[in-house]
Every structure is written in C-alpha cells, then in structure tokens.
C-alpha cells in the first residue's frame, strides 16, 4: 500500500573509484530513477562490479573523486549500513558464505532490523516463516532451502535465487543486480524476472541491471542502457538502444562499436 508514488533518484556524478591503489572507474556519471530499469552492460573487467560495490559503499572501493546523491542527499561517505537503511540493495555477483547461519535465521534478523527501524513490530518466528515461504514459492524455491547455511555450498543458481529472495523481503528503493542472470538457466531467469515484476507492482523499485546477456534484458525491458568499457561510459541510450542490443546480441554489438 504505497501512498507516495513520488519518484526517487540516485545520481552518480563524475565518479572515480580506486581499488588497491589502482583507478578502475574514470569519471562515471549516471542518473537512476525509481520505477525504471537501467541496464549496465560491458565486457568482463570493464568495471561493472566496481561501480556496484562503490554505490553500495564497500570500504575496499575508494571514491577518490565525484559524488553519489540519493534524493539529492550526498551519501558519498555513508557506510554500507546507512545506504542499506536508505533503501539501496546489491544482489552480489559473488555473495559471501556464512557458515552455520541459516537463511531463515539471517533473513528474520534482517527483516526485523528493518521493521524495528521503521517502528513496526518484529515478526515472530512463525510469521517470518510464512512470509519467507510465500516469497520462496514466487521464486520456485524448495521451502527446505531456508535451513541451509547462507550461501555455503550453494550452486550458482541457488546463490542468485537466494539474493532475489532477500530483495523480495527487503523491498529496496534501488536494487543493483550484478549479473544475477549468470548461473541461472532459462527457467531460473524467467522465475527471477517474474518475481521482480511482482515486487515492482508493490513498490516502484529502481532496477540497475548489470548483465552481459540479452535474455535477462528482454525479460525486464530496460528503460535505459549504459555500456561501460575500461571504466568509462562508451554508449548510452534509451529503449531503442536496448532493443538494438537485444536484437544483435551484446557481443556483436560491442564488436560493431569497436570497429566504428
């Protein structure tokens, strides 16, 4: 029951990011809006994950220049938790394993932390189980999966589904999906896309879709596309560019670009 449908914004201004003393992103400027899907493409090593981590506030990814603004508020120096609290979410390309912590216990902790911050009552074990089960069904997940240790020994597809499960439960304002499609089969991609559509009906989430594959793009039909190469933006466009990339396939598209 969203009462305010106001557009929220996330702006990246001239972002320079360094990892272990080496500059990886060389001045990236991007605007994201809630309700939109913005695809970010680019060959391996072009800096997509670096951008995702820098937006989320990973301490290893140092912003040496530029700004990140959330609804006009400068969040460049915010901690990862503060960004999560504002509603930023990263679906990790390689989520960290935490042994001995079950998905259900971890998610109850995460949900209740959010509820407490928002002045809502904490969910009981039973209510949180019900909620978890409902979302797991949306993602075609076996409910027994909740008793597994967080990301420990998960297959590629299981990791990605578990990331999406967290997205559905935490309902962020902006979700960065870092290659959520890789590791998933066609049915997996469909299930994840369906879940995202359902989530976006509840609340107008902004999606930052990092992918190399056309398939996921087709399912989520982006409003905007940005192509990164060597830490710089080399192409940007709206639905038409997205269509062109989808039709030609990303690799062929990149080849054509570099031949020009």
């Amino acid at each position: 029951m969203e009462t305010t449908k106001e557009i929220q914004t996330l702006k990246i201004k001239n972002l320079h990011v360094e990892v272990e003393g080496k500059e990886i992103l060389h001045g990236i400027t991007l605007d994201f809006e809630s309700g939109n899907v913005h695809a970010i493409m680019g060959p391996n090593g072009s800096g997509k994950s670096t951008l995702a981590n820098a937006i989320m506030g990973h301490p290893k990814y140092k912003i040496t220049k530029g700004k990140i603004l959330f609804n006009g508020q400068d969040i460049t120096n915010y901690s990862v938790k503060e960004r999560a609290d504002l509603g930023l979410f990263l679906s990790f390309q390689y989520p960290a394993e935490v042994a001995g912590v079950t998905i259900s216990n971890f998610l109850r902790e995460a949900i209740n932390t959010k509820r407490e911050r928002e002045g809502q009552e904490k969910l009981s074990v039973i209510d949180s189980y019900k909620l978890l089960k409902e979302k797991m069904e949306l993602l075609d997940m076996d409910p027994k999966f909740r008793t597994r240790d967080l990301n420990s020994g998960f297959s590629g597809g299981e990791k990605k589904r578990s990331e999406m499960l967290q997205l559905l439960l935490l309902k962020p304002v902006f979700a960065i999906l870092d290659e959520t499609d890789s590791g998933l089969d066609v049915d997996g991609i469909k299930a994840v896309a369906k879940a995202i559509h359902i989530a976006r009906k509840d609340s107008p989430m902004g999606i930052i879709l990092i992918t190399h594959y056309e398939h996921f793009m087709r399912e989520l039909s982006p409003d905007k596309v940005t192509v990164l190469c060597n830490g710089k933006i080399i192409q940007q466009g709206s639905k038409e560019l997205a269509k062109k990339i989808q039709e030609k396939g990303f690799n062929q598209f990149v080849n054509e670009q570099s031949n020009n």
Binding site: M56, P59, P95, A96, A99, G100, L150
Partner: protein, 479 residues
C-alpha cells in the same frame, strides 16, 4: 565500569526471550548485600583446613584427606606449562565463607538477597518449566535444594556434597578423590581437596533414565572469595543422566580463584551428559578439573562453554576403561581483552574398541588469547580405537590470538586418530555482505559468531542453547 550506560542500552536488545536467558551482565557483576555468617582470613594454613572440616562436623577420614592434600599442596609448585599464573596470589584468597543461611528445600525460606540474585538469574522459573531439580550454591554452602518427588522415589540422590558425606558415607568414601581424580593429581587439585566446600552429589541407580536435565547454578559472592565446590556423580549400570551446571559471579577488583573438581563415574552401559556454562567475572582464575571414568559400553558427553574469567585452565577428561566406551567433548571458549582461555579436552583410551570425538571452538576478540590444549592417549593394550579431534578458532580482529597444542600419545598400531585444526578470521566480505542487508557491524559479527558456534550450541537443550548464545552475544558486545 565506565561503560555502564552503554551497557544498559545494549541490554535492551535482549528482551525478547524467556526463561533464564534474559541476562544482562549487570546482574552478574553486582555483589549483593548479603552478610555471611563467617568469613575466614585470607590465606591458607592448617588451622583453616581444620576449621572448614570442623564447621561441617566432618568424619575423621575426610579431615585426613584434607590434611594430606594440604601437605602435598605446600610441597608442590604452581604449573608453568599453561597460562601465566604469576599474578595469582594464593595468600590473598579467602578460602572459606559460610553463607548466613541454612539449607532449605522451599524457595520461600531462602533469604531475600540470595533469592533476588537467583530470581534475576531465573532459577525458579527454569525449574518449574524444564528442570527436574535445582541445587544452587551460594558461596560455600547450599542454600536451596530440591528434587522432584518422582526421582526421589526411584532412588535418585541429588544432594549437597557436604550433606552427602553424612547421609551416604560409604558411597562418598569409595568414590571421593580416589580412582577418578586422586588428591595428588596437581597443585590445584591438592588445594581443592584441602579446602573444598559444597558442591553436588548425584547418584542414579541402575537402569534409571532421568529424562529431564538436573541443574545446579553456582554463584560466587564475597570479595576475594575462592570457590572450591566438589561434584561427584555416579551413574550406575544402564542409567542415564544429563546434568547441567551454570556459573556466574559478581565482579571484583582483586583476584578470585575458582578451583572446582568434577568426578564422574559412568558405569557399564550408562550414559552421562555433563553440560556446563561457566561465565565467571573478569577477575576470576578458573582452574578447574573435570574427569570421568567411563566403563564398558558406556558413554560420556561433555559440553563446556567458557567465558568471562581472566584465565581459564580446563581440560575435561574421559578415561575410557571398558571396551566400547565412548566419549564426546564439545567446547566453546571466548577470550576478550586481557583474557586467556586455555581449554581443551583429554581422552585416554585404556581399553579396546573405544571411540572419542573432540570438537573445540574458540573465539578471540580485542587481543584475547584462546588456546586449544588437548591430549589423546592410547595405551598399548587398547586395540582398534578411533578418535577424531577438530578444533576451530575464529579471530574477530588482528590483535587476537589463537594457539593449538594437540598432544597425541599413541602406543597402539591399530588406532585411527584424526586431527583437524582451522583458524579463520571474520572477513571483510562477510561483514560487507551482512551490513548491506541492514545489519549493524556488531549485529553482523554476532551473526557470524553465532554461525561459528552453532554446531555445538545445537547439541544443547533449547533454553541453554539460547542462554549460551546470549552470553556469547554479550561477550561480542564487549563488556
């Protein structure tokens, strides 16, 4: 205690659960006003030893054990192979405090101050809910004691050790510091034998299976107090028992010493599970000796949680003396700032086809030192024994230390003994991942630590699992 306000606000996070678990360190670390009937002068001499025995109107044989032990104690040096004990001044310890209360089996008759302490700890509720009997030791004397009628009718004995000497002299005399932990075992066993006071005596008759855990809560009070309780448990043939001991104490400036002894006899085909959560305050030296003699087809399961104390030396030991005997030892230790937790487990395979498992987990934080010190020994006559040792350490920061001393002494070629050890650090990636889901850094560390210890915590009954988790969380918060 400069951070007490900080402490309070954090304490609030723990209000959700019930029974015995809603624990704030404030509760533990406050001494109450209870004035003891008798406090001995600091230091130990023959007069004090005699006085203890006299006050308890002990039989001659017990006084003789004490005096013999005291002589041995005087001649024996403090062990130097473990944590540094050079700051422990044995002349500043008070060796006997008699609480201003006589034992009772009704909660209503327990003096208010003591009752308040125990009520804060949740003992009566816990008893009503889940426990078959509760014995609580307040300093050196038992003040509260109860056992469900059904167990009494079955011949189960759950008694204060001081009383047991008079009521069951033959059973006690036969087992007390004879074949399990002999008086001359080591310096602190000698001291213990000389000044021991209170503790628990349990006898489970043949084939009686006690289906609910029995619990005793020990609490040390009184400045510079030493606590030397003696626990003697006999689980007769085919019987089963789960005994749980929880410890906490108020905090004081000067060193306090805890040197308890636990002797367990697991007779043929019997099963004994001994669970203890020891949460002494920061100034306590916890130098404890726990040992079980495990007979044919019998099982001994140790679960130990050690935290709080300044220095701990504790290595629960199973001596497998009958064929097919089995021992399991699960341990969790937490060492924070200026703490040295030297724990582990020993197994002596003295009969064929015996098996043992040791799993030890330690957590170190703020420069704390956790050591695993263990021994697996196989005597030459023991064939086909199997033993597996696994110790894992988790370091919460770069200042903290983990050490491993896994001694093996295997004199039998048919033995299969495995040992694995791991040291891990809370990784930046794990912290980032968990915080990206809205957890604070502290919450994230708690989640990681909780996961690390969960294989051991899962083996505990629910209330204790929750209690241990809460205690570890409080340690993570750093008091």
């Amino acid at each position: 205690m400069s951070n007490s306000s900080n402490k309070k606000s954090k304490g609030k996070e723990h209000k959700s659960k019930t029974i015995n678990v809603d624990i704030n360190r404030d509760i533990y670390d406050t001494a109450d006003d209870h004035s003891p009937k008798f406090i001995a002068n600091p230091g130990i001499n023959e007069q004090i030893v005699r006085l203890i025995s006299n006050t308890k109107q002990e039989p001659e044989w017990m006084l003789n054990i004490r005096l013999k032990a005291f002589k041995l104690f005087q001649k024996t040096a403090i062990p130097t192979w473990g944590p540094d004990l050079s700051e422990l001044d044995l002349n500043k310890i008070i060796y006997f405090i008699d609480p201003n209360a006589t034992e009772t089996n009704s909660w209503d008759q327990v003096p208010d101050e003591i009752k308040e302490t125990f009520e804060k700890l949740g003992i009566p509720e816990a008893e009503k809910k889940a426990l078959a009997g509760v014995g609580a030791q307040y300093d050196s004397g038992m003040v509260y004691h109860n056992l469900q009628k059904k167990l009494k009718d079955q011949g189960v004995i759950f008694e204060n050790m001081d009383v047991a000497i008079h009521k069951y002299p033959d059973l006690v005399k036969k087992h007390f510091m004879t074949s399990c932990i002999p008086v001359n075992d080591h310096k602190f066993v000698m001291l213990h034998a000389a000044v021991w006071s209170g503790g628990t005596f349990i006898y489970i008759p043949k084939n009686i299976k006690v289906d609910l855990p029995l619990q005793a809560y020990f609490r040390m009070n009184g400045k510079q107090g030493g606590q030397f309780e003696h626990t003697l448990i006999i689980v007769d043939e085919g019987a089963e028992l789960h005994y749980i001991e929880g410890c906490s104490s108020p905090r004081y400036q000067q060193s306090s010493l805890h040197a308890g002894c636990v002797e367990i006899f697991v007779k043929e085909g019997a099963t004994m599970r001994y669970t203890s959560i020891e949460n002494w305050s920061r100034n306590v030296y916890n130098l404890n000796t726990k040992r079980a003699l495990v007979n044919r087809n019998a099982k001994m399961i140790w679960t130990n949680g050690n935290m709080g104390s300044q220095k701990t030396m504790l290595y629960p030991c199973s001596i497998l003396i009958g064929e097919n005997a089995h021992s399991e030892s699960l341990g969790i230790a937490f060492a924070g700032n200026e703490q040295d937790q030297d724990t582990g487990s020993k197994v002596i395979h003295a009969a064929s086809n015996t098996t043992s498992i040791i799993k030890a987990k330690s957590i170190s934080k703020d420069g704390g030192i956790s050591s695993y010190r263990g021994l697996v020994k196989v005597t030459p006559n023991a064939k086909n024994i199997k033993s597996n040792v696994q110790c894992d350490a988790l370091l919460l920061d770069d200042k903290s230390v983990s050490k491993t001393f896994p001694a093996m002494s295997i004199n039998s070629p048919t033995s299969r003994v495995g040992h694995e050890a791991s040291v891990s650090k809370v990784s930046e990636e794990q912290l980032f991942y968990l915080q990206s889901r809205g957890l604070s850094e502290e919450q994230a560390i708690k989640v990681i630590v909780g996961g690390f210890i969960s294989p051991i915590v899962k083996a505990l009954p629910l209330e204790y699992a929750i209690e241990l988790n809460k205690l570890i969380e409080l340690e993570v918060e750093g008091m």
